[in-house]
Symmetry: C2
Subunit: 412 residues, 2 copies
């Protein structure tokens, strides 16, 4: 486990008897109850759950989300402008807020995605001249970041800037203003707006382009003083797993900035691969894209390898798999569960990492002074009286930093 040392911390805890005296020679149980690392997944269905009145659908989505909650501690909610505000002034704030709060109550950290993007943008913006589009973009950021402050404190501020001004599939308001103000000019504006509205938020830039272009963009943005909290890297692998070489190359190149790295949109599929000749994944339209047992094993292997490499890298702080269930984006077999919510081998494989290999559970015996020491994965913990202890009860604590922590806990 040498390469995972950055994920762990040591603690020294003192256990007291109910009368305040050190509990010497007592058996105690240490159980990790949550992760500091962000194990994430898209969770758009939470909004759907808030929105629907159909009881059958509700039950189905609840079952799906139960499985989701057993695996993950971090979710991405949709803020695509065109869907969030399909008609100017009428937003999906109520159901999105309800979903965010519902997730928060279940100890899930939430990220909003995205505040600015040329795709899935509001078509009504195109009636305005560029300076007005930019003004409304800034206003939209102020409005939404402010409204969700305290509930959502992490944002993909802007998405896919590398291609943004060159995007030529169709006219849209954001490509227009990116052309006019330049990539860096626009990114500066949108980050400034987000920062103004929530100074403590984690603000990400996010891109599928992992070439030198994205490196140069980040270099330019940091030089321009843009307050990027973390670098977002998409890794939709519908055309095949990147493999270790590409994965390590991307990690090495984007580590140069010393910023946290988030894998924001990961996809590994359990079906036939999309042909390599497709340049824009959106161009691949199929009626059926089946998940098969053979490819499900492949998906599970790739998930295991990729998550292991990322978890071992000191700068990676979050991994988000894009689709929880099959049949979402592009209709791909990209989920941890099938369309009917039955789990796939990838679910089990990831569970074995998150809640197996990377989760700390130990039985310890206190010394004569009542101390126990242990090293565990960073996160939340429960300490409880072990078998045969002369008392009952439990205590919660957090193990966050890689330093020795000393605490006195009384299991009363």
């Amino acid at each position: 486990m040498g390469k995972l040392e950055h994920r762990r911390a040591s603690a020294r805890l003192r256990i007291l008897n109910p009368d305040g005296s050190p509990a010497a020679g007592c058996q105690v149980q240490i159980d990790q109850t949550s992760h500091k690392f962000l194990f994430g997944c898209g969770v758009f269905d939470a909004v759907e759950l808030m929105r629907t009145n159909d009881e059958t659908k509700k039950a189905f989505l609840s079952e799906r989300l139960d499985k989701w909650l057993k695996l993950f501690n971090y979710g991405t909610l949709p803020f695509y402008w065109g869907r969030y505000e399909p008609e100017e002034g009428h937003t999906a704030e109520p159901e999105t807020m309800a979903a965010a709060k519902w997730l928060g109550e279940r100890n899930v950290k939430v990220k909003g995605h995205p505040l600015c993007w040329h795709t899935a943008c509001a078509p009504w913006l195109m009636q305005y001249p560029n300076e007005e589009i930019l003004r409304r973009q800034i206003e939209r950021i102020h409005r939404d970041v402010t409204a969700f402050k305290g509930t959502i404190d992490m944002w993909d501020v802007i998405n896919e800037v590398v291609i943004m001004p060159n995007f030529d599939k169709y006219d849209n308001a954001i490509t227009r203003i990116c052309r006019q103000y330049g990539r860096i000019g626009l990114v500066k504006e949108v980050f400034a707006a987000a920062k103004e509205s929530n100074p403590d938020a984690v603000l990400l830039i996010n891109d599928f382009n992992t070439s030198v272009s994205y490196e140069i963009l980040i270099d330019g943005l940091l030089e321009a003083g843009v307050p990027i909290s973390a670098i977002g890297i998409q890794s939709h692998q519908h055309q095949g797993y990147w493999g270790l070489e590409k994965l390590n190359d991307v990690l090495e190149r984007f580590s140069r900035f010393g910023l946290p790295i988030h894998f924001t949109e990961n996809t590994l599929i359990s079906g036939e691969l999309m042909p390599a000749c497709i340049e824009d994944l959106n161009d691949w339209q199929v009626d059926e894209w089946p998940s098969t047992p053979e490819y499900e094993e492949r998906q599970a292997r790739e998930i295991t390898e990729m998550y292991s490499v990322l978890f071992a890298h000191p700068l990676v702080e979050a991994i988000t798999t894009w689709d929880f269930n099959d049949g979402c984006w592009l209709g791909a077999p990209s989920g941890f569960v099938h369309k009917d919510n039955s789990i796939k081998p990838a679910y089990t494989a990831l569970d074995k990492l998150i809640h197996g290999a990377w989760e700390t559970h130990e039985q310890l015996v206190t010394d004569s002074e009542g101390f126990v020491s242990f090293t565990g994965f960073k996160g939340g913990y429960r300490l409880s009286a072990g078998d045969g202890a002369p008392f009952a009860g439990s205590a919660e604590f957090r193990l966050e930093e890689d330093k020795e922590e000393t605490a006195s806990l009384s299991l009363a």
Copy 2:
């Protein structure tokens, strides 16, 4: 000629008799003697001419340079650090200065290339720690830009920044500091040094990478306030002519910044093409790379088309063909003359444009007030008495801006 209007200007000139009265009804001859547009070529042989004592070589180089001077008004001189200062403190300043002055006396504008580059860099720099390498790089720029001020006022300040920190063919001092300070951090430093030493100089960034990466780099540099005077674009086409589509795409994408564009290193060859699979042109090593009559015609056609497109673009201010003669870089048949100085069809084709289609020569007759009006390509002009004029003599003038100029000239 509608698409060349930006290359031309109109003038209204008044001709006076030696006694000061208007020369009415006189025939005058208008001859363009130089171009505002920079028609350039590498001219490293000028340094060689200054350096050699071998009379045979001198005569051969003089013959070559005579042909060079008949075609071009703009030359690039070498400042590769490793060759300019092979031993620390011992530079090629004397012969380079002599060459630059020799060219200046022949009305050739000179550009120095390059002040910072990871290739052909001084190996002795690698003994120093990074901060010391950067200090010496800045010092080198101050030294050379100051020494040549007034003789060379145009510089390729930094070369090939897109690949610079990722360059992995061999260790070198400049890749090291580019990794440490970042692309934009390093470019800022070297441009600041050049600007400090010669505030009025034309300062270029130059790259062979014409992808979106270079766009993003320029966007970042401009946002960071780097005083880029013009965007340098290399176009070594050893693997085949770009063609109109790529050429127009590059022009469109790099026009977005509104800066002048210089085609700094153009190559079109008159031989077999280098295979497309070669990624770094330097990897192509051949014993012989013959120029053939058939390919010489192709080269002439491509030169004609490419120069015509570039001359027609309002932001393009300079085109430099890299090699004047065959057998220079990579041993390619890339010249306007063969190795023995005999001219190739491309020479004649370009001459027909520069000193033919794009050069103004007119015979005019003054009106009753002594005025003549004409529209001509921008540059230097000689006005002389035409056949049957009642006086002799000539006058020089410049036609620079696209506005009506009125001048009184007395041909005494």
